[in-house]
């Protein structure tokens, strides 16, 4: 059996991906087309994130992989194992120790620092895809900065429900220019998008990469009289008592009894240890 290159992808492919990443960093929020490769895991399971991680990883990196905020969900385990095997990099579950964090659907609770890279797995990179299915049209809309359709959608939500009925993948405007899909993170995480770390977004099946350089402004779309609100379940964590973290609801018995616990397992574990 032939050995694979460091982090699976060949160097040519990595260069191609790095070029796309650099372009994405130069034009924050702009979706850069890239020639996504078939990866040994299915499309929709993080192939975009995996390709971006493979392109930025160096042998000295320490990697953390989370899915739904947790290090031990099956797909996070599978992707972490993939990089352990193909790149031989050190891995960790501790947010502060990781230099590259690949995530699906969450931003860690602990603020990220300079020198860290957060890689998102993105299913549908186009924030307006469900308003306009045609890529040729949405690209034009971005080029002309024509985001009226998006505002109309949000307005219709308010007139119908009294609220903007988007709970996750809540669109943001990046540095006053591109409207961007932050991937399906809960809108609770949106304020954290302005951070000190580099954020890279990879959509494998849709062949797009985009990026937020450190401290880039990412404003959640809203209206003056209906300001954006980052919401979460109105409970403290049942394990560590945190009031400020995003919570999962766990059904604990047949009567529908519920327990609310931190979705960020590393955050929760550290708080529990500190309390002990």
């Amino acid at each position: 059996m032939q050995e694979y290159n460091f982090a699976y992808l060949d160097e040519q492919t990595k260069r191609m991906i790095r070029r796309a990443i650099l372009k994405g960093l130069a034009i924050p929020g702009y979706q850069v087309p890239f020639a996504s490769r078939e990866m040994p895991m299915p499309y929709g399971w993080g192939t975009g994130g995996v390709q971006v991680s493979a392109a930025v990883l160096t042998p000295d990196d320490t990697m953390k992989v989370i899915d739904q905020g947790a290090d031990d969900t099956t797909n996070a385990v599978s992707i972490r194992k993939f990089f352990e095997r193909t790149a031989g990099v050190a891995t960790t579950t501790v947010t502060g120790e990781a230099t590259v964090i690949q995530t699906r659907h969450r931003i860690p609770e602990e603020p990220l620092k300079e020198g860290q890279i957060l890689v998102y797995q993105v299913p549908i990179p186009e924030p307006m895809r469900f308003l306009e299915p045609r890529e040729t049209e949405t690209r034009k809309m971005h080029a002309l900065e024509e985001y009226g359709l998006m505002h109309v959608k949000l307005y219709e939500d308010i007139s119908r429900h009294g609220h903007i009925a988007t709970a996750y993948a809540y669109p943001v405007k990046v540095e006053g220019r591109y409207v961007m899909d932050p991937s399906p993170i809960p809108k609770f995480d949106n304020p954290k998008l302005e951070m000190a770390a580099i954020q890279l977004f990879g959509a494998g099946r849709e062949q797009r990469i985009y990026a937020l350089p450190p401290h880039t402004k990412a404003v959640s779309l809203d209206f003056e009289d209906h300001p954006f609100e980052a919401s979460k379940a109105d409970h403290p964590c049942g394990l560590c008592g945190a009031q400020d973290s995003y919570l999962d609801e766990v059904i604990v018995d047949d009567e529908g009894g519920r327990l609310f616990v931190c979705s960020d397992t590393d955050y929760c574990t550290h708080r529990q240890e500190a309390a002990r």
Binding site: W45, A70, N75, K81
Partner: protein
Amino acid sequence: MYVAVKGGERAIDNAHAWLAEERRGDTGVAELTVPQIREQLGLAVNRVMAEGSLFDPDLAALAIKQARGDLIEAIFLIRAYRTTLPRFGSSLPIETAHMACDRRISATFKDLPGGQVLGPTFDYTHRLLDFKLAAEGQVPPAPVAEAPAGDVPHVTSFLNREGLIEEAVPEDRIPPDLTREPMELPADRALRLQSLTRGDEGFVLGMAYSTQRGYARNHAFVGELRIGAVAVEMEIPELGFAIEIGEVIVTECETVNQFKGSKTEPPQFTRGYGLVFGQTERKAISMALVDRALRWKELGEDDEGAPAQDEAFVLYHCDNIQATGFLEHIKLPHYVDFQSELELVRKLRREAGAAFAAMQEAAE
């Protein structure tokens, strides 16, 4: 708690071990060998090679064995392997005019130079279960005829002489490659054909069938269908000339489509084209019909709003590896997003309930 999602490493390993056992099945039954699959499940092998975009019957047979006969899974294995292979260069275009045909039929002429050669086809079999096969019956040798000398000419070339069918002008340009460049629309015909030839057989068939039933109907005749081996030649820079590096079996279908003319084109027949690895004629015919439907713009036809005319719809959805991956990813945990939806729905219901109560109070 967390039992359902937090299986972690051990659960994955155990699942894989069980899968391997299931793949093998009852050990009292002899194990399938890769050569058996290659020789006796040839059409499955062909489909895996075609949609996997890699002509290698042995690897395709291995993939089918590993995938427990799930062809899309086998195609996925081949694609993931293929993408790691270094690319040394590209071959010259294959010459299907020089094909050693196993099968060659035309529906537009009763007889024609080169003849109608049925070849190994299911076409006129009666679909009755052959219970003798269950008893592993030996097959008597099929009668053998002399292969005709010389090339079998393409049917469309006859029509061309009268100017009855549109010219297919050869292009010198290197065609785009969607496995190396991101697909960007509008796509030219070469890119559409590449996408279709590796597209899902079922999807392309369904699209083609929809054109026959009136969604952008294009009145296709099978001008010619040919299946056989063609030489693959490559120019070696050190030698300065092309040498034959191997042989592939392909199915080629050229449809002849009625065309009444448009603002820009005179009345004449037009073409649809299908070319697929292996003996894969259902796919090749489907591909030709969809190719023709997608050409509406360059021929100045009307956009009927039919799915098969919609390039973005067809090309973005015909790849079964992309489709199956994204479809099946909804098995992955989504509880964070679901949680945020739960909060929202509860809030909206609370408010709707309060508003309803207030309305009733006002009415009383």
